[in-house]
């Protein structure tokens, strides 16, 4: 992929080190461009929705704030200036790493995000791990368990992938809290409070991952290298865990960037239903309150995290798949 980016003939091995610099610069430039585009789009998009940001500062729309209070708030936050000036000042501050102050929370956006990012990341990572385990289990069972297992797991995957988060969350609460009484219906401190939110996010994701993994596992199990491994006398377990699994992991890791995005958007729903603190919930209330700085801040941080994840998955692909490394040369 890197070769495609810089183009040209594959250079001899001695110049390989120098090729990393333009690759890195290009990649960094891409990151900066995407961040700028995301910040600009969000900045203007949220202003297109009706509603006065000065009222957001004074406790929300329809706050019946007095004329003096509104004027004061506009002056304090520079909202009395032309939009283009506001935008340039916003960009200027952004370059310095200053995301501004939240209108509604009266706190710096960075500190609001700092307080809430950890909870969301923990939720997303746990969900990704659990989803991968479920998907792997399903894929393994369906490739090795015969036709019936394959049928059942493929139905399970489709159902899981199709279920919306809010419906799944309420169903899980109904089953595990209201009926069985095993788990708390809302977030409580400690790992027990994480179980239902993680399951809600992980189940639909595992459906997607499982479908992809099963396909490539079946491919792998039917491919010549598995045949030759068997011919070498490797046991069925060795064949599966050493060869087929590695093959199946590649498309799943390619999906991880997308999965991360899906998890963050799912976090908006899950954090609200289970009353967990996190940036998903912050984002929702910020949009409702026209809290421009917080919306832009959260969107920028999520975009940054997304690009980080896709870069890491590119790297992981290269580590797992030797063919990609060879193609570089």
């Amino acid at each position: 992929m890197a070769a495609a980016l810089i183009g040209g003939e594959a250079p001899p091995r001695t110049t390989r080190r120098r090729r990393w610099l333009p690759w890195l610069l290009l990649r960094l430039g891409g990151v900066v461009f995407v961040l700028w585009a995301v910040a600009t789009l969000t900045f203007f998009a949220i202003r297109l929705i009706p509603g006065d940001p000065a009222e957001a500062i004074l406790g929300g729309p329809g706050s019946q704030a007095s004329a003096e209070a509104l004027a004061q708030a506009r002056a304090d936050y520079g909202l009395d200036q032309p939009l283009i000036l506001q935008y340039l000042r916003f960009l200027g501050r952004l370059v310095m790493g200053d995301l501004g102050r939240s209108y509604a929370l009266h706190d710096s956006v960075l500190s609001v995000i700092g307080q809430n990012l950890g909870g969301t990341l923990l939720l997303a990572i746990m969900s990704l791990v659990v989803a991968s385990l479920i998907a792997l289990g399903l894929a393994a069972w369906s490739t090795r368990g015969g036709r019936i297992a394959a049928g059942i797991s493929s139905v399970l995957e489709i159902v899981a992938a199709a279920v919306p988060h809010f419906w799944l969350a309420i169903s899980l609460i109904l089953l595990f809290s209201s009926i069985l009484g095993w788990l708390p219906p809302v977030s409580v401190p400690g790992p027990v409070g994480l179980v239902l939110p993680v399951l809600t996010l992980a189940l639909p994701l595992s459906g997607f991952l499982g479908q992809v993994m099963r396909e490539s596992m079946l491919d792998a199990m039917a491919s010549p290298f598995v045949l030759s491994a068997r011919a070498r006398g490797e046991s069925e377990n060795e064949v599966f865990w050493l060869h087929a699994l590695r093959h199946a992991a590649i498309p799943a890791i390619g999906l991880a960037g997308w999965a991360f995005g899906a998890l963050i958007s799912g976090a908006v729903v899950v954090e609200t239903i289970f009353a967990r603190p996190g940036i998903g919930r912050s984002l929702l209330s910020a949009v409702q309150q026209r809290d421009v700085p917080l919306v832009v801040g959260v969107v920028i941080v999520v975009a940054l995290a997304y690009m980080l994840v896709t870069t890491l998955t590119d790297l992981a692909d290269r580590l797992i798949d030797p063919r990609l490394r060879r193609a570089d040369r």
Binding site: I49, P50, G51, D52, A54, E55, I57, L58, G59, G60, P61, G62, S63, Q64, A65, S66, A67, E68, A69, L70, A71, Q72, A73, A104, L105, H106, D107, V112, Q115, N116, A169, I170, I173, L174, S177, S178, G181, P184, P185, V186, V188, T272, I273, F274, A275, P277, G278, R281, S282, S285, Q288, R290
Partner: protein, 543 residues
């Protein structure tokens, strides 16, 4: 006329405590036990500031009721009763009021409650930098506060204010420590200091506010069930925005009390053992549909009446609220003593509606059955605030859309988020609208129906959505806001309501719904008769 109200003797009775619970608490030990933590889960938005002087909305009042107190309160009958003030009197000219304060009360930071504290609070509410809206509006006639002596505050007015006591009974005008108010607004929002039975200990954003008992507490309102400090040692005030998980948390025992309970949940809870219900309608206006009389077709009273006659509200309320909401025929909440109810005006009658429309010139019908006049269809735009109208209410509007169609009205429902909804109102692009308004006392009529309320504030906000412009009504409302004689006041407000209801400016639906569910081991919880927020002062846990 000088009126002196002597302090009422506290009516301490368990009967008062359970009054308001539609399903009585099961029999058990009735001796209160001290200690324990109560978990309260609110479905209202998380406040952005815990000091209700700043802004001033219902979510703030809910939590602030636990740590802030007002000069006066109300009993269940609607009479003003002593709280931080033991007595009060109005000057003969009505231009000042003297409030005598309790002389042994301290704020939880050690500052004493004095006349200067009242002055500092009024100044704080009127300072534009505080950005108060509710409190600021309530103090519109107040010109200043002076101390007559250490414990007597004199409030001076620009014109007599018959609603001053109602105003000061609201949590949005609660009295805070003047020492604490001197801190920066950010700090004061984080930890406001009052005289209440609990103290704000910490606030974990998006999660909860932790309140601990004030062990030196000595200032309950006159209708409290006990004296001295609260029974609960602490309260965890949680923010649980989703109504299904809130009810599940109550069932599972993760939380003890929930608010914002939806009709289907109330019905489910009725059949579930171990859960009690409190129905405490909010004061101020009833929930109603307002008919914009400033633009066609509702500039014609006959068309307004035709719409109201063709709307089958009763059947819709019955089927969508499962008997949890009672139909209202009044502009005011049923908790307002001066509310006037006129069921006769709002009878469902399609024939009468058709006749009225014929008279008004809407004689033709198009292919879809909608009335037409001069080539124009009888169309009505109805922006619906999805933040303020609960799902059952939104369904109700859909049912009314169907029944008014029979008469030939084409109602266009526009579900909007709060900001877009206010924008639609600001542009006068609506024929129908429904907006709640919570305020203690009948003065809410002056806000909603005085022609002054049709002029948008600088923020674009205006309260007179029906756009009633009637000089006779204005005069009645202004006078009612000034007279001190209770009988004269009542008769003026009655006449004013007659004009509003008789003019078909509004279609009353029901009280502003305010239901609480609690586990049966929660005892002694009641809603304050002022703004209907629950007070946990008398509450104890039976274990």
């Amino acid at each position: 006329m000088k009126r002196i109200i002597t302090p009422l003797i506290a009516i301490a009775s368990i009967a008062l405590l359970v009054a308001g619970c539609s399903s009585a608490a099961p029999a058990g030990s009735s001796t209160p036990v001290s200690g324990g933590t109560l978990v309260y889960a609110t479905g209202d938005a998380e406040p952005t500031c815990l000091d209700p002087h700043v802004g001033g909305n219902y979510p703030q009042a809910l939590v602030a009721t636990q740590y802030l107190e007002s000069l006066v309160s109300k009993n269940k009958k609607g009479d003003i009763i002593p709280w931080l003030a033991t007595k009060w009197s109005e000057a003969k000219d009505g231009l000042s009021w003297d409030f005598t304060l309790r002389d042994n009360v301290k704020f939880t930071d050690g500052t004493a409650l004095t006349a200067n504290a009242v002055a500092a609070n009024v100044a704080h509410l009127q300072n534009p930098a505080t950005a108060s809206s509710t409190g600021y509006l309530a103090l519109a006639k107040v010109t200043g506060v002076t101390s007559v002596d250490e414990h007597t505050a004199r409030i001076t007015l620009s014109s007599p204010d018959s609603s001053l006591l109602d105003s000061f009974s609201q949590t949005w005008l609660a009295i805070e420590s003047p020492t604490a108010l001197k801190r920066s607004q950010d700090v004061n929002c984080e930890s406001p200091v009052g005289t209440g039975p609990f103290i704000v200990k910490k606030w974990d954003r998006q999660q909860s506010v932790t309140l601990v008992r004030n062990n030196d507490y000595n200032s309950p309102p006159a209708d409290a069930a006990h004296k001295g400090k609260a029974y609960l040692s602490s309260i965890e005030w949680r923010f649980l925005p989703d109504s299904a998980s809130r009810y599940a948390a109550l069932q599972a025992g993760t939380v003890d009390v929930i608010d914002n309970v939806q009709p289907d949940t109330i019905v489910a809870a009725k059949n579930s053992k171990g859960i009690q219900q409190i129905d405490a309608p909010r004061p101020g206006a009833s929930n109603r549909i307002e008919l914009n009389s400033s633009i066609a077709p509702f500039d014609d009273e006959r068309v307004r009446e035709a719409f109201i006659r063709s709307a089958n509200v009763n059947d819709a309320v019955k089927s969508l609220f499962f008997g949890t909401a009672k139909r209202s025929y009044s502009a005011l909440s049923s908790v307002e003593a001066l509310g006037v109810s006129e069921p006769k005006l709002f009878g469902y009658d399609q024939k009468a509606a058709a006749q009225l429309l014929d008279e008004a010139g809407w004689t033709q019908k198009d292919a879809n059955g909608y009335r037409v006049k001069d080539g124009k269809t009888l169309e009505l735009d109805f922006p619906v605030s999805t933040n303020q109208s609960i799902p059952a209410e939104q369904s109700l509007f859909e049912q009314l859309q169907a029944t008014t169609k029979e008469a030939g009205f084409k109602v266009n429902l526009h579900p909007l988020d709060l900001s877009s909804w206010y924008a639609a109102l600001g542009k006068n692009q609506y024929n129908l609208v429904s907006a709640p308004y919570t305020k203690v006392g009948p003065d809410v009529l002056n806000i909603l129906f005085n022609s002054a309320g049709t002029k948008p504030a600088p923020s674009g906000y205006f309260a007179n959505h029906a756009q009633v412009k009637d000089p006779a009504l204005d005069a009645l409302l202004v006078k009612a806001g000034q007279v001190s004689d209770p009988n004269e006041r009542a008769s003026l407000y009655k006449k004013a309501q007659g004009i509003v209801l008789g003019g078909y400016y509004i279609l009353p639906l029901y009280d502003q719904q305010n239901h609480y569910l609690l586990r049966s081991d929660v005892k002694g919880l009641r809603a304050l008769p002022t703004v209907s927020t629950p007070t946990l002062y008398d509450t104890w846990l039976q274990h």
